[in-house]
C-alpha cells in the first residue's frame, strides 16, 4: 500500500535553518545539511528546503547547499525560494533536488509551471500556495484567498481556482500551506486541505500547524492529504520522527516501516 509521507521542512535563512511564526521572529536551529542527515537517518520520507530570503534578496537559490544535501541523503527532496526561471529549476535539479517548488513567482508568471513541466516532467514541479481565509464568498468562492511573498501580499485569487489552474498548467504536486495555521502547532487546517485534496488530480501536501502526531493522523484521515509537512515539533526536539511514525502506525495510518 502507498504510504503517507512525512516531510520535515527546513527554512533556510543565511545558510542556517530557522523557524518563525507566520514568517516572523526567526530563531536559529542549526546547519541544514546536518539536520537533513539526522532526519534522513530517523526515517523521514522526503525533505523540503525553502531558501526564505532568496526572493527578497533577488538571488537564486543556494546551489552549494542543494549539492551538499544531495550528497548527504538518499531520499527525495524539494527546494523552493529563488526559483524564477527554467534555468534556476535546471540548476537545482541537476544539483540533486528531486523537485522544485514555485510559489509567489508562479502567481506572477504562471507560464513557469508549464515551461518547467515540459522541460523536466510534472513530477518535478511543485506548487506551494499560501491561502488565507477570506469571507467574501463572491470574490473567493472557496473561502480562501492566495497570498504571496511570505503572506504579505494579497493576490485577489481564489485558492481552489488557482490550484486547479496550476494542475492544468502541469504541476505534479501542491503544498497547501495555511496562513492561519502556520507556526501555531495547533493542527492543520482540515477544511482547506480537504477541499484542495478532493478537487485536484495530483497529490496534496498539508502544511502549517503540525504540533503532534494526532494532527498528522487527522489530516491524513479526514483531509485525505497524501503527505504532511512538519517543522517546529521536531526542530525543537519535542518529538522525534520515529516516535511520530510509531504513533501514526498505531493509529492505523499507512506509514513506511523499513528504513
Amino acid at each position: 500500500m502507498l504510504t503517507r509521507r512525512i516531510i520535515p521542512c527546513l527554512d533556510i535563512h543565511g545558510k542556517r535553518v530557522t523557524k518563525g511564526v507566520k514568517f516572523k521572529n526567526n530563531v536559529d536551529l542549526g546547519d541544514p545539511v546536518e539536520m537533513a542527515a539526522k532526519y534522513y537517518d530517523e526515517g523521514c520520507d522526503e525533505l523540503v528546503f525553502y531558501d526564505i530570503t532568496a526572493s527578497a534578496e533577488r538571488r537564486p537559490i543556494d546551489i552549494d547547499m542543494v549539492r551538499e544535501v544531495a550528497k548527504a541523503v538518499r531520499i527525495p527532496f524539494a527546494v523552493g525560494g529563488g526559483i524564477s526561471s527554467v534555468e534556476d529549476m535546471s540548476r537545482a535539479l541537476l544539483a540533486g533536488a528531486e523537485k522544485v517548488s514555485v510559489n509567489s513567482l508562479a502567481v506572477v508568471n504562471p507560464q513557469i509551471i508549464a515551461d518547467g513541466a515540459n522541460a523536466f516532467g510534472a513530477q518535478c514541479i511543485v506548487l506551494g500556495m499560501d491561502p488565507v481565509a477570506a469571507p467574501d464568498k463572491e470574490k473567493f468562492p472557496s473561502g480562501y484567498e492566495i497570498t504571496t511573498r511570505g503572506f504579505r501580499e494579497h493576490t485577489g485569487m481564489d485558492a481552489l481556482e488557482w490550484a486547479k489552474r496550476a494542475v492544468d498548467l502541469g504541476v505534479g504536486e501542491i503544498v497547501v500551506n495555511s496562513v492561519d495555521a502556520d507556526g501555531t502547532r495547533e493542527g492543520f487546517e482540515i477544511h482547506l486541505t480537504k477541499m484542495i485534496a478532493e478537487n485536484v488530480s495530483v497529490p496534496v501536501v498539508a502544511s502549517g500547524g503540525a504540533g503532534c502526531s494526532a494532527h498528522l493522523a487527522e489530516v491524513f484521515e479526514k483531509a485525505h492529504a497524501d503527505a504532511a509537512i512538519i517543522a517546529g515539533m521536531i526542530h525543537t526536539g519535542e518529538f522525534t520522527i520515529p516516535q511520530i511514525k510509531q504513533e501514526l502506525i498505531e493509529a492505523g495510518i499507512p506509514i513506511r516501516k523499513h528504513w
Binding site: 500500500m1 509521507r5 550528497k71 541537476l94 523536466f120 523499513h258
Partner: protein
C-alpha cells in the same frame, strides 16, 4: 566500470550519487563502446516512452542495449528504463526494446483518491528470491514516481509485486542477467542502496 546510460531522459545525478555512496565507481555515458565494454550497466530514466524510444532508436542505443543484454553483462533497468525494456508501452503507443516480453499499462484508479502519478513509498512483496533482494526484508518500501506500470507476459520473470490503484503490478522483474525495478532504488534510502549494492555484486 559501471556504465549509466545517458539518453537525455531525466536526471542521472541521483543514480551516480547513490553509487558514490556505496563506493562503486560509475560513468554516465552515451558511448556505445563504453557501454558494451562496461562490467555492469544501469539503464535509468524519467519521462515519456515515445520520446525516449525515438532517442534510443535514432542514436542506435536501443541496439546497444540489446547487445549488452545478449552478451551477458549484468543489466539493471530503473523506472522508465524498466518500462522500455518491455516489448510495448501504452504511453505514446511506443514499440520498445523487448528484453522482456510484455506491455506497459496506464493506471486507471477505480477510486479517484488514488492519484496518478503514484508518488511516494510503497511496499514490495517478494515473489521469488533473487540475489538483488539479499538482506532486504519482505514488505520493504521503495520510492515510486510513475503513471504507467509493467505487465510482463511471463509470470516466472516477476520477482516482486506492489499494489496501487486497484492493481497488483510487477515492481521488480528479472530474466538471466537482466533485472529491472519500477521504483527508484537510488532514492529509496538505505534499503534502496542495499539493492543497488546487491546489483553491483551480482554475478548471474
Amino acid at each position: 566500470m559501471l556504465a549509466i546510460i545517458d539518453y537525455k531522459a531525466g536526471n542521472l545525478t541521483s543514480v551516480k550519487l547513490g553509487l558514490d555512496t556505496i563506493g562503486v565507481e560509475s560513468v554516465i555515458t552515451d558511448s556505445a563502446d563504453e557501454i558494451l565494454s562496461a562490467e555492469r550497466v544501469i539503464f535509468p530514466g524519467v519521462g515519456a516512452a515515445g520520446s525516449a524510444m525515438k532517442t534510443l532508436n535514432d542514436t542506435g542505443l536501443a541496439d546497444v542495449i540489446r547487445k549488452v543484454a545478449a552478451q551477458g553483462t549484468p543489466f539493471m533497468g530503473i523506472c522508465l528504463g524498466t518500462q522500455i525494456i518491455l516489448s510495448h508501452s501504452e504511453e505514446d503507443d511506443a514499440d520498445c526494446i523487448g528484453l522482456l516480453e510484455g506491455n506497459v499499462i496506464k493506471f486507471q484508479p477505480p477510486n479517484p483518491r488514488d492519484k496518478v502519478p503514484q508518488i511516494g513509498w510503497n511496499s514490495v512483496e517478494i515473489k521469488q528470491q533473487h540475489p538483488i533482494f539479499d538482506g532486504i526484508e519482505e514488505g520493504s518500501e521503495f520510492y515510486f514516481v510513475h503513471s504507467f506500470y509493467p505487465a510482463p507476459k511471463v509470470p516466472e520473470e516477476i520477482l516482486g509485486t506492489t499494489e496501487y490503484a486497484g492493481v497488483t503490478f510487477a515492481s521488480v522483474m528479472g530474466k538471466g542477467n537482466v533485472v529491472a525495478t519500477q521504483f527508484h532504488p537510488e532514492k529509496s534510502g538505505k534499503i534502496g542502496l542495499r539493492l543497488l549494492e546487491n546489483f553491483t555484486k551480482w554475478n548471474p
